[in-house]
Symmetry: C5
Subunit: 353 residues, 5 copies
């Protein structure tokens, strides 16, 4: 969730390929799926050149690259498909703002894939770059630890799925859709935790509660930053006159756009709820302070005058007529009870107790 | 009022029909009304196919479907009328953002119907989907527990009502209008409660008061989220060049648009009032703390020096000349009164009492 | 200043005439003024039909209707002049948002007339509806208690006034102008009160001060809600290609538009001033708490150790050598003075006193 | 800095000339400058008619009117130059919002000239109206106490100045430029004072500090209100297709526009700095309260148990074995030191001291 | 980081050259680089006239001027290249708002170069002006202390660099890019410091922590002010139909635009994080106050009643039967333990301890 280091890039020529992600080590894994309505072939390949044998239409080629450590893969990809060096640079620079850019021959979409670590409750974000061509789609993922595309793969295996009958632009929609759906999952998780904290807030709020609120606030801030530009990107895809997006797909992209707006709405709602909770917390802290102070004041107001009285008759003056009185002691006891009781009545009247 | 679970949908093919609402069990109930200026026939039907016999113009067919548990109804509806699968999916996904979408042959409007449970004070929201065709209107409601359309039905029974003489687009307006009017009812309720809390705030504010303010704030937040997109939707209906909206209806939709703007205005006003109340509350809590502390300080400031004096003459030193004085004790009493009185004058001057 | 009840309207057919205002009883009073450059005739009439004899141009007819209780008046007006039922409904629904709507044959403007009750300091708002036709202007006022149009009437009586030589659109401008000017009057009043409260805030702020600030805040909120849409309405009038607005009047409407912007500016300034005052108040409350606590702490810090010392020598141990010392008592006195003085020096150094 | 009284204007016919400014008394002073590239003549004149002899081009006539008390001057000006009555009214109404309005034959610009009184630190604002015609510029100033135009006059005296060679539109730019530059001067002053307060805030903040912050906030609010609309006005001048603005001047107006944006930027920055300072102040007040309370608590926590112990052995029971012990007194002293020291260690550990 | 003094400029003719920067003394240093794809020549020159010998295309001339103290350099530059006096004035006025202005023959870009002083943590800002012509680029820097262009120079030395093969518009992009990249570096620094403060906030927050937060807030405010207008400037460059920007460069400018948006995003995120931290701080201060007050109240509530009891039996009344009891003293001890223990149980139950 912190800011990625761009320092090493400062001043380099644009288009210089430098890996900025976290997972520097580890192999780069390339998966290839080729399909049309009747056939589907999926295999792992060694190098990206093997994927680049262009198949005749309507066969769709989906190349999924996991891990960005191997710069050679990117260079080959760039030179074979004629991808602009700035796009290659963007794929590597894993702190990209989500966007969709039309380069005529191909369309470049970059966004964040979000998952929530169940145990630590930490958000994990991984950059996904999608390059859509006439009959291919290449997806680049930052990490190797798995992705959210499993369901798309199983839909592809189903021969009757609409996905099989349509072009790579529909595959693009499917991948974007599943990523956006995962934002919903994360927001549901966060919403559950907000409800937990809410109960805590009423029962027994502590400083840990505030820190939890604050941590959630930052996660929402992070999600907002990662998601907000996506709305614009999807909106531009849906309006796109690019011939790469078929008319039948546009209606699905509009549906996707509705989903992105809904994610943002939910984000906004959760943020306002958290703000309200902070207010509740602060007002409950003030209230408890008030209560504590009332207890202190009541005790002091009752016992300070009494201590004065008993101190008075503890003085050692030679001539103190009350000391000689037979009922002097009982009078002091009575007076004390009177003062104490009177104070209690007074506090009752002021609604302090 | 919480976020609906979309989890089960993540990664499914778009257009997959899955029920997301709460009321999964229970039958789906279908009511059919067919009317023109001179005739009206209303009956319950078993299956939706029975409604789909297209009547010649100007007869208007209104099919009202209560409950979304029976997916077959939707499938039949979709295939007979040629409704896009994404629309069917949206009807089922009961966490839709309000919107109006033009599909050429038909118009799809989705929004939230709001009622306020009188006893618990809980908001209840139910999704209503309206599909407007050339000579039919199909309305889908999420729940079975009744709706706000009763008044529209009785207006339909009145042969002279303008509603009878006009097309299904006017019926669409009538249904939207009655839903928007119910937002006014809910806001009036909330406004009454705000006034109650306001009185409480001045008389005797407690933590419960803050929690009530907060609960109302969240209800308004929820209403805002449910209503805000409706303005855009109605605005698009009113501008619509769709041939499904007749010119005579447009002026009524403009009137409806004014109502939606007014609902939003009222929402905004109520939210600002609640914010102001929180400020009042916090400042009154600080004030009371101040008052409590003043009482404590006054008591302590008066009795601590006095206790010191009486303690002084309670010492057991052999040689303490004052102890021998005949009027020593009275001097202490006089001194105590002087100090106490002087303190009171001082506090009076500083306006503490 | 509260929300008007729309409940009774929920679900009724649009255009149903139901009175929503407060002044249900009392007669409806109709005043008629007919004028051109050389003649003027003003009289009260019994029923609105009498006003509706259309005079040849350039005679201007101004009908002013006070009170909306008599629904017949509206019905007649509507049928004679061909006014749309929705407009008639809007005239009656006295919680309208200010707006200007062009119906081709006539122009409908609705807004709030604001006065401030001198004694109670309560805002009074009354809805004014203006219907401008080719050669007539009909104004509807909610209440019977007088209006702000007196000055317009006296200008009409002056034969040389520009008002007499121009059409009903200029009369419309005159009425709008005088209503907007009254907002200035109200804002001046409120501004004076803010200055009073400001002085109070520095001299001796109490909870009543906060409540006064809060009341003013709500009044400004209410004024903002009542006025804000007027800017749009006047702006649309000034741009209007409606042939009902003559070119010579447009420049005056632009001037009126400048005034509305200025009212909004002033509203905004006053609101920000009030917010700043709340901050001042809160910080002064904290400061006084600080001061109170300092007094308490100083007293306690001086006298608690002293009380310990005198308590020490009040003990009844058999063997306490100091008690036998001749100057023991004076030593304690000296020690007490030393400790007390030392504490005071310490507090002086810490700038507590 | 308060709201000007418009009360007397309410309901008057538009274009009625009524003086609203503060300086009602005092003569109106008229200065005339006529210049072209080779000649310049400057003189005071008695009445405005003397200025109105139109000179042949390229001679530029600049008439500067100081003081608005003499309504005749305005009336003459209006009738000779064919100025619209609403413009004359605006010149007199000294609470105008800055604006630029194109009346074809002439251009009307109105804005606020700001100076800061060095001693009292009060802002002084004076309305300046500028009427630009084909070969003349008339400037109206509200007050008589001098202006900021001196430097423009001395530039005019310099024969080689670009100002001499160009038309009255360049003179308009020069006057606007010098007024905008004075906003910078005022903001620099305020910025210096903010820095002073900042030092105070860290050294020794008092209630006076908050009031100073608040006063500056209000001054910035006032400046913002007076300046904000000017941006729009200058922007419209620069885009103006009015033939009164020559092409060579447009580039200078664009430069002026940049300056207005910069003034607004600076205003915004200063406002945010002040807000931050209030936060600092409040948090430092809370901190000091915390500190004060810690001192009190430490003292009370140490001496209350000790007082109990010495009180215990001050009791007069017949049978109290400790009293007879030889080292009883020393034990109490030792115990007291132990308890006191233990408490101090405990507080040290909790980082209270 | 303070506001630069514009005072001396007020009222001067536009285009008057006055040095406003800080580094008034010191020589002005001029560096000249001439290059095309095959040749590169770099040298320092004495006066700017030496740079102005126009080379034939495609040779690119880059003149870098360090220090603005020598006004002659600017005057020569202006007259040789036909630069508008207002541009020369802008180059000198080192408080310019970033902008890009198209003057047809040349393009003027001005922006702030930011560095962060490692030790003091102070931001340093230096104005950079860039004038782009057909085959030259002139860059003006305010100070002499070095710049961020070193990497661009070394890229120029590399014969194979794309920079060598392209025109001066690509050099413009390279310089802008390296400046924007330095904003990232500064933001990373600030982000690191925010994380440090965050740890401090949880461990042991002090007033110094708030002041550090506040200082960072002001730095971000300053950065925002310096950077925000740059987005617009770069956006206008990228859309520019100026023939000075070649089509091949536009795609790089779009990339640069993405970077500026990202800088602004990051700025916004950091600002929200700081705001959240202030909330955390305030709530932790209130919490600690609460804790302190609880300790005080617990101590007082336990020992005040006990002190009353022991005081009671320290009274010197003649007739006090308890004093004679054999176990009186032990009863008091027992009673004290009972009261103290009871109080502790009570506080435990209220969760105070």
């Amino acid at each position: 969730m912190s800011i990625r280091k761009r320092s090493k890039k400062a001043g380099l020529a644009p288009g210089t390929l430098i890996h900025m992600g976290r997972a520097k080590t580890g192999a780069t894994r390339i998966d290839l799926v080729e399909y049309d309505e009747s056939h589907l072939e999926a295999r792992s390949v060694e190098s990206i050149e093997q994927c680049l044998v262009k198949k005749p239409l309507p066969t769709v080629t989906w190349v999924n690259v996991d891990g960005l450590a191997d710069l050679e893969v990117l260079r080959h990809f760039g030179s074979c498909y004629g991808i602009h060096p700035l796009v290659l640079e963007d794929i590597l620079a894993t702190d990209q703002r989500p966007k969709a850019a039309d380069y005529g021959e191909y369309l470049y979409v970059v966004l964040k894939m979000i998952t929530l670590d169940g145990e630590s409750g930490e958000l994990k974000s991984e950059q996904v770059s999608l390059v859509l061509g006439q009959n291919y789609l290449v997806s680049f993922q930052e990490g190797l630890e798995g992705d959210v595309f499993e369901q798309v793969r199983s839909r592809l295996n189903n021969e009757k799925a609409r996905l099989r009958a349509m072009g790579p632009d529909f595959l693009l929609h499917a991948l974007l859709d599943v990523i956006v759906d995962h934002y919903f999952l994360v927001l549901e998780e966060i919403s559950d935790r907000i409800e937990d904290i809410e109960d805590e807030l009423i029962d027994n709020p502590t400083t840990a509660t505030v820190q939890a609120i604050y941590r959630l606030k930052r996660q929402l801030l992070f999600l907002h930053k990662a998601f907000w530009p996506l709305r614009e990107a999807v909106s531009s895809l849906q309006r796109r006159d690019s011939q790469l997006i078929r008319d039948t797909t546009v209606i699905y992209l509009r549906d996707l756009y509705d989903h992105t707006v809904q994610v943002l709405d939910t984000l906004e709602t959760l943020r306002e709820m958290l703000s309200g909770m902070l207010d509740i917390y602060l007002s409950s802290v003030s209230n408890r302070l008030n209560e504590v102070m009332k207890v202190l004041t009541i005790i002091a107001t009752i016992f300070m005058p009494l201590s004065f009285i008993v101190g008075l008759y503890g003085m050692n003056f030679k001539y103190m007529p009350e000391l000689e009185w037979h009922y002097g002691y009982y009078m002091v006891l009575f007076l004390s009870a009177l003062i104490g009781g009177g104070m209690l009545v007074y506090f009752k009247k002021r609604r302090w107790i």
